[in-house]
Subunit: 102 residues, 2 copies
């Protein structure tokens, strides 16, 4: 078995979700994840910041229940938890991602 998914956190309350998405770096990460539609390698989700900073932002998004981490063949992937967030906060993620596209 080469795929491992970490334990998932519940989707956080609305203010925490909005706070997680209000940072431009994290919003861009989420935008790219939504555009891809599936798990994406970490390094393809950011530019212009250090690895440690990116890792911090992943953690913030994960603790808000917005993304999920998985490992495969030694690489780390992030996946947008579209269904879970939509169920907890209907329309919110969809509208924000759509607005972020332009």
């Amino acid at each position: 078995m080469t795929t491992e998914t970490s334990g998932t956190a519940p989707v956080a309350p609305l203010p925490d979700v909005l706070d997680a998405l209000s940072d431009p770096v994290r919003l861009e990460m989420v935008r790219r994840l939504a555009a891809e539609g599936g798990p994406v390698a970490c390094s393809r989700l950011y530019d212009g910041i250090g690895k440690s900073t990116a890792s911090h932002h992943f953690k913030t998004l994960r603790e808000a229940g917005i993304i999920e981490r998985s490992s495969r063949d030694g690489q780390t992937f992030q996946r947008l938890r579209v269904d879970e967030v939509e169920e907890a906060l209907p329309g919110v993620l969809t509208a924000i991602v759509a607005a972020a596209r332009r």
Copy 2:
């Protein structure tokens, strides 16, 4: 003429709007404004914080282009700029307010 409306600011970029809405105090203000559907007196939009703090939050929301201030008969009112925000960021405010209702 007893009604005076201040100059309006354009709706801010998405990250700034989300940041403005990510604070629980401000989110509650916006939720109450949306529930009323029209201008509401300042003092009816918050509880448990001082006047100066509330004024600070109004300023933040105003600078994000989310609300608008008006005066009438010596009282100050705040109004949610639903149409303007919807045009700039379709669906965002609507979904957030709906999610905040529960």
